[in-house]
Amino acid sequence: MAHRKKIKDLFQRLEKEAADYPLEHVRLTDGGEWWQGLFLFDVQLPETRKNFLISTISRLSGHSVPAGKNSLARKGSCQVSPEERAQLFSFLKQGGGADK
């Protein structure tokens, strides 16, 4: 399956780059898309090691990894949208709450 091959390729590249890091803490889980639910960090793994794995996985896969969620999310999802801005500023257009 293409799904499996992508995972295998990613792991091979990860292994090459993270030779000194405990890859046994990285596990496959059930994800709908190949990039979903790929990783499960052991809770005992030091935070700095998790951070290294997260950033390496993120760079190799092209997707960001929210720490603690053990799954991947699409990159670029952090950009503030026009709808969010509109909601932030709607308050100012209503008078801003300042005492008159």
Binding site: T48, A67, A73, C78, V80, L88, D99
Partner: protein
């Protein structure tokens, strides 16, 4: 980083610069130490440090020497008053804003070596959403976000929280609205931010309080002293003390 059994480690970030982040962090540190707590204030703006300027310190050693020369971080601690210590950073050193993975780990270990002796560790981060800001925020337990009624400040604070939530799964946001005209304005601005955060990011921030525009703050900054020390009963001073109570009660779950 989960350090629930150790000190409360709190970052002070804003997104936008110039909203009073360092001034607030310094005065909260002063307030906590006056309550008898042992407080460490880390200048997390590693390349453009300001904590020493706000406190009028004559700094001889900084965090930089730990990263570059392996100097023991305990020898860099500056005692400001009984129980209140500062870890100064360097100014005008761009290299310190983009530490290698190895240097980050070295600094992290060094910091963890000194934080255990304190009740509260406050990290005054740089402005923006650069690597060091995200790195420090990933390290702490709680995130104090400071913003002003300025639309650019609100946008940047929201953007920072969005990055921390989306990429780092951070949710413990404590909000302070600085430079408000009135308490009513501060509460209204918080409520608006709270609504947008709930709607788009599904997170519920905590309101620590608002600090009014006050010339007492301006005078204190120019004299390089905390306003809680120079004019403790000013409007800003009273607001800061209320924020300090909210912070300690919130962190201790009361």
């Amino acid at each position: 980083m989960a350090l629930q059994s150790g000190p409360h480690i709190i970052s002070f970030s804003s997104g936008k610069g110039g909203v009073g982040k360092t001034t607030v962090a310094v005065n909260i540190a002063v307030c906590l130490s006056r309550e008898g707590k042992r407080v460490l204030l880390i200048d997390g703006d590693l390349g453009l440090a300001n904590v020493d300027v706000v406190l009028g310190l004559d700094v001889r050693h900084t965090i930089r020497e730990t990263v570059e020369d392996g100097r023991d971080l305990r020898d860099t601690l500056v005692e400001i008053s009984p129980g209140f210590f500062v870890l100064p950073a360097s100014s005008g050193v761009p290299e310190m804003t983009r530490l290698s993975r190895e240097d980050q780990e070295l600094l992290l270990k060094a910091l963890e070596g000194v934080t255990g002796n304190f009740d509260y560790v406050l990290v005054d981060t740089a402005a923006g959403i650069g690597e060091s800001v995200l790195w420090f925020n990933n390290w702490v337990n709680s995130h104090c976000i400071i913003f002003s009624p300025d639309p650019t400040s609100m946008t940047d604070a929201y953007a920072l929280m969005k990055v921390l939530t989306t990429r780092y799964d951070k949710k413990n946001f404590l909000l302070i609205v600085n430079q408000v005209q009135s308490g009513k304005e501060g509460k209204a601005i918080f409520s608006n931010m709270e609504r947008v955060l709930a709607q788009f990011l599904d997170i519920k921030p905590e309101f620590l309080g608002a600090i009014p525009r006050d010339n007492a703050v301006v005078r204190a900054i120019r004299s390089q002293k905390p306003f809680l020390q120079t004019e403790p009963d000013s409007r800003a001073g009273r607001a800061l003390k209320r924020i300090c109570i909210s912070l300690t009660e919130g962190l201790n779950g009361s």
